[in-house]
């Protein structure tokens, strides 16, 4: 593996190396220059030092840094390709190092499919500039003009084959300066590494059982912590009779701070047993009841909301007798459902806290920990190590505070805390439940004349630092509780709950109304796609309903309402791939549907066609096959991109057919995989993905691009198969059976 391998030994070194020789705090670097700095490309704008991104060793090899983190999406491999390309070094001579508050640029959260755009752009420009500096140094050494030199594999050459290696040129290299952003990166036509299907850096270690995850980190002397969470949100710990627990084998300490309760033991299985005993020994004053799940959408709609109007278009008024349809759709709370429960390892040493974490944002997490622990941020170091796939904010940040609170109680000992399965299911912040209302009318030619869209949703980000206050779970339960500030929406054009709420279709009259509901009866935060999954489900389902009203074919109807040629191209391509036939009638043995979206209306274009079959007896839907066409602009790693598009379709298929968080008034009832079933191997569809590579268009994120088109294609296929429109997710066997009778 090229990425830094964490060994049991290096953990100790890292602890010792907490005092770092330089600061990469952007505020500090900015403070050195006067006035407002000129804008720089990508994340260079907020992390302006070249040294923050690139270092060249005495051997001429490069180490590059990113503030973005690997989540299994292959981002480090893609960034590694970009850096090697611009440095003119082979991949084997470039190492990439990711998110560490002591060493890497601060790029906030790794979220929203923006890593290629922000970090990739920064690395591209920083590496191009450093390569230029090396060439300049070589030119001076050789007394030739820099323009006469070429570079291949870290060797700078003159026309008559005189050469200076990077190792020879590096002596005079000074990277402790601001990037200028003025050295042009390579033209796409010169690319040798970018655009190639490059094997992922992390896979060999993962398939051979090497240390690859934060869950695997261990140092001699590591002890194990577990937490005891209340029966439901907002409960307070009245008393805990821990006398017997303290005497259990291996128990080092029971830690209580207000209603935060945890235990530290020598061995992991001892901590797990002690947690069970401690849970039985605790008496809680229960927090407020949860809403009735049967009326959850009506309940959410009844809460106060902040309303905003988006995408307003006013054309000629539709005819009074225009054919009009109206429909409402819903999406339940969804769990991230990480296969591995969240984990962190924390050590409190000399009043400093060191935390290994799989948080998506080590800098925001550090600042939340500083508040919760009342420590200066400079005395906290958060280092990213991969966890199990998170797909948004799972328990990663929360367990980091749990580990830190326990570590503070047993100084000098590395404390490893992994949440148990029920901790993760019952306490992670879910993807929000949503309601969508639509109304549209047709003109005389059968085109949409007027489009009205309303959506109701909680926030889609309660990540660290996304609000005022403190945004890590345990802080709310401390003796001196620290609460998160009021939820804030994410502004358009990316949007939060209203992500993809504005259709890409061209309608003469249009109004989109977003009801943002700040109060959260059930804990929510960012789940992959935020609101886009539900909005694309509703918009694309309703497009099919309107197409049926217009007696038009769904593919032709969409194309007739689109101007964007790239949007049309993915729809046309997927129609060809799937051998789409206009007006084909469906049956229970085969229904077919299409869905389309341009993610965030800013990023990757994806169109999906799904073929489904329905078991008449049970109502169970199975997706037999899915086809996808995707356009992400310039492709960095085609294999990685395919993996993301296909993975998104399969995850969306699972969300769509099986998933909803179960709860009742007494609390969350989805606490394991039996009470939160997901798609299993025999039900997985075949997926065919084709990519459109647009080398003149900027690279766009694709990690969340296929979920919306996939749910829409499946929902439309179910309607095609059954003749019934199902508007409430999930499209599980019970609902489908009720519809087909």
């Amino acid at each position: 593996m090229n990425a830094p391998i964490l060994t049991r030994r290096s953990f100790g070194k890292a602890v010792g190396g907490l005092v770092v020789a330089f600061s990469l705090d952007p505020a500090e670097i900015l403070a050195q220059g006067a006035g407002k700095p000129a804008p720089l490309p990508g994340s260079l704008n907020t992390n302006r030092s070249l040294r923050a991104w690139v270092r060249i060793g005495g051997d001429g090899n490069a180490t590059v840094s990113t503030g973005k983190v690997e989540l299994g999406q292959g981002i480090l491999t893609a960034l590694w390709q970009i850096a090697a390309e611009e440095l003119d070094l082979p991949l084997s001579r470039v190492k990439i190092y990711s998110a560490d508050t002591a060493l890497s640029p601060n790029e906030g959260q790794t979220a929203g499919s923006q890593s290629i755009e922000n970090s990739g752009t920064a690395l591209r420009f920083a590496c191009a500039e450093v390569r230029g500096m090396l060439v300049d140094l070589a030119a001076t050494k050789l007394a030739v003009p820099a323009g006469s030199l070429t570079v291949a594999d870290g060797v700078i050459l003159t026309a008559d084959r005189l050469k200076v290696t990077y190792a020879e040129a590096v002596a005079g290299l000074d990277l402790d300066k601001e990037a200028t952003g003025k050295v042009a990166p390579k033209p796409v036509t010169a690319y040798k590494i970018v655009g190639q299907p490059t094997p992922r850096l992390d896979i060999p270690g993962k398939v051979t059982g090497r240390i690859a995850y934060v869950q695997d980190i261990y140092e001699a002397g590591t002890v194990h912590g577990r937490v005891v969470r209340p029966p439901r949100y907002g409960s307070t710990l009245e008393k805990v009779d821990d006398a017997a627990v303290i005497k259990m084998p291996g128990v080092i300490k029971v830690v209580r701070d207000g209603s935060f309760l945890g235990v530290v033991a020598e061995r992991e299985e001892q901590a797990i047993k002690a947690r069970e005993a401690l849970a039985k020994a605790a008496t809680w004053k229960l927090g407020p009841e949860l809403p009735d799940p049967a009326n959850i959408h009506a309940h959410l709609k009844s809460l106060p909301s902040t309303d905003s109007v988006l995408g307003m278009k006013q054309g000629p008024a539709p005819a009074a007798n225009a054919r009009t349809l109206e429909a409402s759709y819903t999406k339940p709370y969804l769990s991230h459902g990480s296969i591995g429960p969240s984990c962190a390892v924390a050590t409190f040493l000399n009043n400093r806290m060191i935390v290994w974490t799989h948080s998506q944002g080590v800098f925001p997490l550090r600042n939340e920990l500083a508040k919760a622990l009342k420590l200066p941020a400079k005395d906290i170091r958060c280092m990213h190590v991969e966890g199990s796939g998170c797909y948004g904010q799972n328990g990663a940040d929360d367990v980091a505070l749990d580990a830190a609170l326990l570590a503070r109680a047993v100084p000098d000992k590395p404390v490893r805390v992994q949440w148990m399965r029920d901790d993760e299911f019952a306490w992670e912040p879910y993807g929000a439940a949503m309601s969508m209302g639509l109304k549209a009318s047709l003109d005389a030619e059968g085109k949409i004349a007027d489009w009205r869209y309303e959506l109701w949703s909680n926030t889609h980000s309660m990540r660290p630092e996304s609000t005022d206050g403190t945004n890590v779970l345990a802080s709310q339960y401390l003796a001196e509780p620290q609460m998160p500030g009021p939820a804030k929406g994410i502004p358009q054009p990316a949007g939060g709950g209203d992500r993809n709420a504005i259709p890409l279709y061209d309608f003469p009259n249009q109004k989109v109304l977003h009801h943002f509901i700040p109060d959260m009866p059930i804990r929510v935060s960012a789940l992959r796609t935020l609101g886009a999954y539900a909005n694309v489900f509703a918009i694309e389902s309703f497009m099919d309903e309107m197409a049926a009203l217009a007696k038009a074919d769904p593919v032709a109807f969409r194309l007739a309402h689109l101007k964007d040629p790239r949007a049309k191209a993915v729809i046309e391509k997927v129609a060809v791939m799937s051998n789409w036939k206009a007006g084909e009638a469906g049956s229970l043995s085969r229904g077919r549907g299409i869905g389309f979206a341009k993610y965030k209306n800013l990023a990757t274009y994806v169109a999906v066609v799904a073929d489904i079959e329905i078991d008449r007896a049970s109502g169970k839907v199975r997706v037999a096959q899915a086809w996808a066409a995707a356009d992400s602009g310039l492709i960095i790693n085609p294999d990685g991109l395919r993996n993301q598009i296909e993975g998104g379709i399969l995850q969306s298929t699972s969300w769509t057919l099986y998933e909803q968080v179960r709860f009742d008034k007494s609390g969350i009832q989805s606490r394991d995989w039996a009470s939160y079933p997901i798609m299993t191997m025999p039900d997985v569809p075949k997926v065919t993905v084709e990519l459109i590579n647009r080398t003149n268009e900027p690279s766009k994120g694709a990690g969340e691009a296929s979920h919306g088109p996939a749910v829409a294609a499946i929902a439309n296929a179910v309607a095609n198969a059954t003749g019934k429109r199902l508007r409430d997710l999930p499209l599980d066997a019970e609902r489908v059976k009720a519809a087909i009778g």
Partner: protein, 165 residues
């Protein structure tokens, strides 16, 4: 009282109590971290190891129940330098996103290929029905197992059940 375990051909001793699930002993005493904690309930398969050739959920298997059984973990199949054909096939197919479930997929596939060196695609899917993947890497996982099966099967007579490679 110490308990002895035979893991990847070597006998180890652990101070853990006999009711301790094998998973924690492998990870924390033997530093074999390939098997993962996923649920502790035998629902997801991330912790799978082979016990006398049978895919077994180590998160619910007490060490006291193992006696002289031969335990094989993913580390016992192959290494970075010398991967087992299954491990190599997962690399060749790039069959991982987060990869947290992959230990279980490989170990269950090992049991399958030992019994049936060239399974059909539906047989692979059925064998993995109890192994959860959340990233949507299922199809690549199946492709990797079929690839490994083909490679292993080509090297030995069909139908011969060797129990190990």
């Amino acid at each position: 009282m110490a308990t002895s375990l035979k893991v990847n051909g070597t006998t180890h001793s652990t101070p853990a109590e006999p009711d301790t699930p094998l998973l924690y002993v492998l990870r924390n005493d033997l530093f074999l971290v390939g098997a993962k904690f996923g649920c502790g309930l035998a629902q997801c398969g991330a912790c799978t190891v082979l016990v006398d050739g049978r895919a077994t959920r180590s998160c619910v298997t007490p060490i006291g129940s193992l006696g002289n059984a031969e335990i094989t973990t993913i580390e016992g199949l192959g290494t970075l330098d010398k991967p087992h054909p299954l491990q190599q096939a997962f690399i060749d197919e790039q069959a991982a996103q987060c990869g947290y479930c992959i230990n279980g997929m490989i170990m269950k596939a090992k049991e399958l290929l030992d019994q049936k060196p060239q399974p059909t695609e539906p047989e692979v899917r059925q064998a993995l029905a109890g192994h959860l993947c959340r990233c949507g890497t299922h199809n690549r996982i199946v492709a990797a197992i079929l690839r490994a099966g083909k490679q292993i099967g080509d090297k030995k007579p069909l139908g011969k059940q060797t129990g190990r490679l």
